[in-house]
Amino acid sequence: MPNYLLEIGTEELPAGFIPEAEARLEQLMTDGLKSKNLSFKSMKTMSTPRRLTIIVNDIAAKQETTTTKVKGPPADKCFDGNGTPTQAGSGFAKKNNLSVDQLEREDIGGVTYVIANVTTEGKATPEVLTEIVPKLITQLSGERLMRWGAYETKFSRPIRWIVSLLDDKVVEFQLEKLTAGRHSMGHRILSPGSVEIKEPSEYVAKLKEKKVLVEPAARQAVIEQQVKELAQKVNGKAKQLSGSLLEEVVHITEWPRAVMGDFAKEYLDLPDTLIETIMVHHQRYFPVEKLQAESNGNKDSVLKKSLLPHFITIANNDLDDAQAEIKQGNERVLKARLADGRFFYFDDQKTKLSDHGTALSSLTFQEGLGSYMSKIERLGELANLLVKDTHLEPKHAEPLFKALTLCKLDLVTNLVRELPELQGYVGAWYAEQEGQPPEVVHAIASHYAPRSTDDSIPADTVGQLASVLDKVDNLVGLFALGKRPSGSSDPFALRRQAQGVIDVLVDGLKEIPVNLSTLIKSQVTWFENHTTLKSSKRGFDAEKITTELSEFLLQRLRGKLLDLGFGREVVEAVLSARDPFWNLPNVVVRCRATEALLKTEEGMDTARAGLRVRKILGDEEFHADFDSALLSLDAEKNLIGAYNSFDENFMKPRMKEHKTFHTEQDYALLENELSKFSKPVHAFFDGVMVNDKDEKIRNNRHALLRKLDVHYKLIADFSKLQSLIP
């Protein structure tokens, strides 16, 4: 069966667009072929900065022939009493290209209708491709699509040629002035001009002759190998040879060659992160580090020095003649940037970090939310609350307060003005030079983490605490300003910050459960009392801000729990039992406890009993006191007996010893105790009319059930598990 090749030839596409465009191309092609009943065996996408390619293997030569049933008017409208076709009958037949006697009849809902079985002969594949491919190209959406020249088409960058080949035949179509053909283009500089592709199978090889490695994986392999070899030559190893830098250089080259350059040793006085940021973010160079970091006495230092005075850049030109110029040119650019960085690094330190306070008072945090100085004051107050709430030990509390007073001061240094992505790190370097303790220094650097979606949470406890406080303050402040993200627009990265809060609380601060609800409430109140927001036109709706932000955070938490592999029903049951923000690590433990419960027959029965209790109580607000004198039936007496024994023998002793439910073992114990209710609960529901006519009795029975409900809900709201409980 034939193969189909589509190459969309473009000007240099944004590196970030290419991987998602490849995925989308495959999806659109699959959907397009399926919708047209064209079968195929497999697909493969490829790309370079100048082309997006897909090869469909073993595509059917023509569409499958299909028969569709078309319902016509009722039979008695189509044929008169003698069975002679009426105008409606012959009209319907004609419309479907059938003769009247080919029409069939079918009873639908008690009425007999005329039916036409319409057979559609499959179209030949080239004809179908001509229909779907041009549409597919224009559907390859991305961010910031553009027009070019006098074209109407929108794409990520201008489309300059199209190859469209079904085996050795061109599948022709037009995209405005462009005609699809069989000519691709070689490397822009090393092998310019067009190259004829005879058929899809020779595509990769033909382009290789024209100095284009069209498979990203092939370029990646070349880059990785060459970078490693070059690093080895100077007894070092390349850093960041994975992740986003590697992915980016793969997508900005067609014919890569790694080139090593050098820089003066004097720049190694600068912190590694400064050098690396300049290399990676600004120049897309791989830094090279020593094979074994020398111990320079202080392994905790943020001023680690493990780099070698070399860098590796990936050129898109492999000619030996060019290498000296490429090396020298890149060295010069890096030198200029390092010289700038060095100037600011030493110049900044002529002023003590804490002396930047005045400048910070005139740096606006957000219009309407005051300066960064007032943000620092706010964070201090919030930290007070947290310290009290969590009984935080002084070994964490002291550096936390110190770090919060220092963590924003670097925003007014020249180095951060120059390289904003270094915020936090710069403050940490200067703080360390000024002799601040390591806990403080690390927290200044790490409190911005996670800094990107692929960054991790702060590794240090103080940094984790500072990170949560800072992010909660950002979130509340911006929600108060009405700047919550909408659609794809999230200019303040609030989604990432919300995820950061959840991740730190769930994964980081397991031993220091922070009550997120309290923090939010405190910040909302602060803004309500201190800022100019309340006098604005919008007014200050504390409740709305709290509800919206809580829902926003809850979405992130829900997502995280699902990512951890918990079932949707389990997650809902745990989250809705009570305020999940009270203690986030506990939410995870309860999810595990709930899943464990559903694994045994006995546990399933506990859940079933809990569900029955929960369902009959519903959302009622009315709470009557329980009066045991009003019990009359054995089933209710048995139930209160079981409850009292649970209360006396299990709950009360635990409470006396201040034992809360914390670990999975705690919950296993609780589940075991609750299982003892199952029989009496079922007997109660089977034998007692809960909603008695007498209001007093009815209310009393609800009050009895509420005693149980409270304890089931220590784990989860079992009514949310209904679909899992047979």
Binding site: E11, E12, L13, P14, A15, G16, P49, R144, M146, R147, W148, G149, A150, Y151, R157, P158, R160, R188, I189, L190, P192, I252, V259, Q283, T313, A315, N316, N317, L319, D321, A322, E325, I326, Q328, G329, N330, R332, V333, L334, K335, A336, A339, D340, S362, T364, E367
Partner: protein, 326 residues
């Protein structure tokens, strides 16, 4: 013609290290040969050549427009008292506008580098994603930074919008950083060491200017006066727009923009005030853009091919005149 170009390129390649003025001459010659009107610099302060009328106004509407020009630009905040080898508050851009953007625009650009003696086979030349937006001009576009062995030497932008209006057909804007390019060609690390010609250095012409202007921008400018000037020019721009005096009105906007930049350099603008001023300028820019387009419609799109005029005028009149203006 092609032979002539080739010979000139070879000449350039053998002629190592063009002087600053030769770079401008070569580019003038190159783009002049390709149908561009080689203009002289626009005589008011602006942060980038994009703001010169030859770009900002001429990219509007359906008329073709091909222009090249070495243009002086000022960014007061970039002043470094002449102490930084790479940064200047007054510098030169070489600006090219090709509208509609030709299909082979990247190749033509590479030819312009060849004309300067840069043989792409001996270098690593890259088109790296870079999108551009100017809130004060209500303009945005997408394109690349062009890297020459890791050095950004050119901004390449397909204009999508200017003055809040769609740019259609799309114009390609090619902006060479003349100092960087020349430093590369002459192999010097300090901008002031550039040979302007074979006798005079860049430093001789501009170093003292940088020292004095930096002192003015950061220390001696009078913020109250600057604020007054900003307001005066803003009011004057509005008055002129109302009188349909588009060019004089636009010049007033450029004045606003320059005084805004000077205020910014003094660091006396709070975040709110800063944003408020940007919005003021962008509103004026949008009015000017519309006013300019209306003028061109009334002039009958002189640069458009005769056969296209009638239809274009009809369509644009429908779209860009309100019922009462018609």
């Amino acid at each position: 013609m092609q032979e002539a170009v080739r010979l000139r390129e070879e000449d350039a390649i053998t002629n190592k290290g063009l002087s600053f003025q030769q770079v401008i001459q070569k580019l003038n010659e190159f783009w002049g040969d390709r149908g561009c009107a080689v203009m002289q610099a626009f005589d008011l302060e602006k942060g980038a050549s994009t703001m010169s009328p030859g770009t900002f106004l001429r990219v509007l509407g359906p008329e073709p427009w091909n222009m090249a020009c070495a243009d002086a630009c000022r960014r007061p905040t970039d002043g470094r008292y002449g102490e930084n080898p790479n940064r200047l508050q007054h510098y030169f851009q070489y600006q090219v506008i090709l509208k509609p953007s030709p299909d082979d625009v990247q190749d033509v650009y590479l030819d312009s580098l060849r004309a300067l003696g840069i043989n792409p086979l001996k270098h690593d030349i890259r088109f790296v994603e870079d999108n551009w937006a100017s809130p004060t001009l209500g303009a945005w576009g997408v394109g690349w930074e062009v890297w020459l062995d890791g050095l950004e030497v050119t901004q390449f932008t397909y204009f999508q919008q200017a003055g809040g209006l769609e740019v259609k057909p799309v114009a390609a804007e090619i902006t060479y950083g003349l100092e960087r390019l020349s430093m590369y060609l002459q192999n010097v690390d300090n901008v002031y060491d550039l040979q302007w010609n074979d006798r005079v250095k860049y430093g001789e012409l501009y170093h003292h200017n940088e020292v004095e202007q930096s002192k003015y921008n950061f220390e001696e400018s009078n913020p109250d006066l600057l604020k007054q000037l900003f307001s005066l020019h803003q009011a004057e721009a509005q008055r002129l727009i109302d009188k349909k005096l588009i060019m004089p009105g636009y010049e007033q906007i450029l004045k606003c923009s320059h005084y805004f930049n000077l205020l910014d350099a003094r660091g006396v603008l709070g975040r709110d005030e800063r944003m408020a001023n940007i919005i003021k300028i962008s509103k004026l820019s949008e009015k000017i853009a519309r006013g300019y387009l209306q003028q061109r419609i009334e002039m009958g799109f002189p640069l458009l091919e005769e056969s296209q005029k009638e239809e274009a005028i009809k369509v644009y009149r429908e779209k860009y005149f309100s019922p009462e203006e018609k």
